[in-house]
Symmetry: C2
Subunit: 110 residues, 2 copies
Amino acid sequence: MGLTKTEIFTEGQNRLAKVAKVLGHPARIAILQHLLKVQTCICGDLVDEIGLAQPTISQHLKELKTLGIIQGTIEGTSVCYCINPQGWEEIRDMLWNFMNQAIPGNNACC
Amino acid sequence: MGLTKTEIFTEGQNRLAKVAKVLGHPARIAILQHLLKVQTCICGDLVDEIGLAQPTISQHLKELKTLGIIQGTIEGTSVCYCINPQGWEEIRDMLWNFMNQAIPGNNACC
DNA sequence: TTTATTCATCGTTAAATTGCAATAAATAAA
DNA sequence: TTTATTTATTGCAATTTAACGATGAATAAA
């Protein structure tokens, strides 16, 4: 149905999946990489840099902002975007805590 | 269009996004967590544990296996699944390298 | 051999996602 | 004030995704 049954999963499982899902698009990765490189930029810069239409970039920015990994402040007619350090670190830690668990060795495998 | 324009992004951007996308569903997170806990189990165990239909679990297992983060070996009529340590570490490192880049401080933000 | 068990695959449905043109809203510039 | 710039929002089409019933394939058990 395209409808994830979130109610049968834990809060933590849903949160981690949501974070990964937002990172799961190359345009959003590209936006984050550009922001890491230039620190701050406006929406139009990303349209030029990435090569998707303005409404498409705007939609990706919205998802990243909703997740809390970036922030944007109005600056005249344009909007200045940048990494949200607190959000970034929270997400980094969440992914790290999951991926850095002790994993069974090869011998434990079937 | 529901059709990601992968051709305008770099190999690295597409690879990282693909990894994150596969992790971006709570059922797949739950499968990985269960495998971390019990080391090995069969498909039916996950159906009981998670509460989705068998074809649904089977589909999620296939995506995780295609990504290389788990492996499965036929064992009679059942299939024994476990974490693929090499794949897991590769993915962990990929996420870590991205998320652990130096991020600008709060003062650099708009 | 017949039956039961286990899992993958197929086909289908409902919903979400991606992308963009058109447009609205808000501010800056002329 | 009028015009230009910049971004968000709306509405739409094409595609993908999530979920599951039905079924097939393969092996174990009776």
